[in-house]
């Protein structure tokens, strides 16, 4: 019953949230007719790439699972699936940036302006993703400290009525056996995010788009990369906290038990936050009056 709820509630929230977000996006969407052909084409390219990347984020873990389940140990493999999905989605986003529409006319104009990747690394998406990544590193380090020698369980000792020390263990617990592959996967994801941001910085400017619109499209690409990384990181953190908390709760008492329960709840919160992040719109061209084509932020 409880396990069923854990699956059903997020799925319901994802569906309901998805419908609401789609409605809001549809109502505030600036129609193609209000854009130049090049700008409409660039937006289509970005949205299509994002759609494929999101599908890869969801289906990628299944592909990784099918491809490697017979080769790699089950637990650590399960632990890296969300970040593996994020890495695959980031590869799609990178391909999208590298195939961004290029100018084709016989007369081509470029503005001589230095573009810096730093501009795309300062947004809210970047900060939240960095915070989530830092939280995952801290959680893995703490769990590694608490885990037993196997790296997959947590053990606690207590003194029984006869005065003898009795040890009991519980798992799965995200010790280094789970945590190390997660940290490697996190590093890969971070590297891919930087590659996507670099590609978004240096890709061709959209012909006929003013500087602010062009920058908005670049910020949008960067935000999509951070969103994918954030979802993968939060889901990994959620799994570590949830299963770690459950295992620790089985062998602890008193304050330690309360901390373990809090970790379980925090894990559920992280899972919920991942769903919210997945549905949260990135900066985009919003509907405006036809006479004032100024971009706005989502």
């Amino acid at each position: 019953m409880f396990a069923g709820l854990i699956l059903a509630v997020p799925l319901f929230l994802l569906l309901a949230g998805g419908v609401v977000v789609m409605l809001v996006l549809a109502l505030t969407h600036r129609p193609d007719a209000a854009l130049s052909a090049e700008l409409a084409s660039a937006r289509r390219h970005g949205v299509m790439t994002s759609g494929v990347a999101t599908a890869m984020l969801v289906l990628g873990p299944l592909l990784v699972w099918v491809a490697t389940s017979s080769l790699l140990p089950l637990g650590p493999l399960l632990g890296v699936l969300p970040l593996a999905g994020a890495a695959m989605a980031l590869l799609v986003l990178l391909a999208g940036e590298l195939t961004w529409p290029r100018p084709r006319g016989t007369t081509r104009t470029a503005v001589v302006r230095d573009r810096s990747a730093g501009d795309l690394l300062r947004g809210g998406w970047a900060r939240v993703t960095a915070a989530a990544a830092a939280a995952l590193v801290v959680a893995v380090a703490l769990a590694a400290r608490l885990a037993d020698e196997s790296g997959r369980m947590v053990a606690a000792g207590r003194t029984d009525a006869t005065g003898a020390r009795v040890w009991s263990g519980s798992g799965p617990f995200p010790g280094l056996d789970y945590g190390l592959p997660q940290l490697v996967a996190l590093a890969v994801v971070a590297g891919l995010v930087l590659l996507v941001v670099g590609a978004a910085t240096n890709r061709a400017a959209v012909v006929a788009a003013d500087a602010s619109t062009d920058q908005l499209l670049r910020r949008s690409s960067a935000a999509r990369a951070f969103r994918v990384a954030l979802v993968g990181t939060l889901l990994t953190l959620a799994a570590d906290l949830f299963f770690g908390g459950m295992a620790a709760g089985n062998v602890s008492v008193g304050v330690a038990h309360a901390v373990a329960v809090a970790a379980v709840l925090l894990g559920l919160g992280c899972g919920l936050a991942a769903l919210v992040a997945l549905l949260w719109p990135v900066p985009r061209l919003r509907a405006v009056a036809a006479t004032s084509p100024t971009p706005a932020h989502a």
């Binding site: 961004w100 290029r102 100018p103 084709r104 006319g105 016989t106 007369t107 081509r108 104009t109 470029a110 503005v111 001589v112 302006r113 230095d114 573009r115 910085t201 240096n202 890709r203 061709a204 400017a205 500087a211």
Partner: protein, 125 residues
Amino acid sequence: MSPTAEVTVTLDMLAATPPYEQVRAQLAGHIRAGALRVGDKLPVVRALAADLGVSTNTVGRAYRELEAGGLVTTRRRVGTIVQAPAAPAGPELQRQAAEFVQSARRAGLADEAVVDLVRGVLSAG
């Protein structure tokens, strides 16, 4: 530091002048005219090449020739920066150049013909 005013480079892919020379000549013109000032940072080769839809070699060659001409300097980790021309065109010379271009355009000359005219005078002199 990026240029404060909007400075552009336009490529005519059908022109007889090779694209790298068009890029070099326009950037050199912007630097000599003061539209690009000392310390201004040029876009990285890959970005300008993408914006113009040409290969990175094209823009790279233009930058190298600007550097050979002493108009820019390239530093690792910093990029390509505008530096002071050895013999900067003073305001009076710039005014005369602008007047000459306006006169040539009024006379119906295309920009390329104006450049040819100046080159012809330079080679004759």
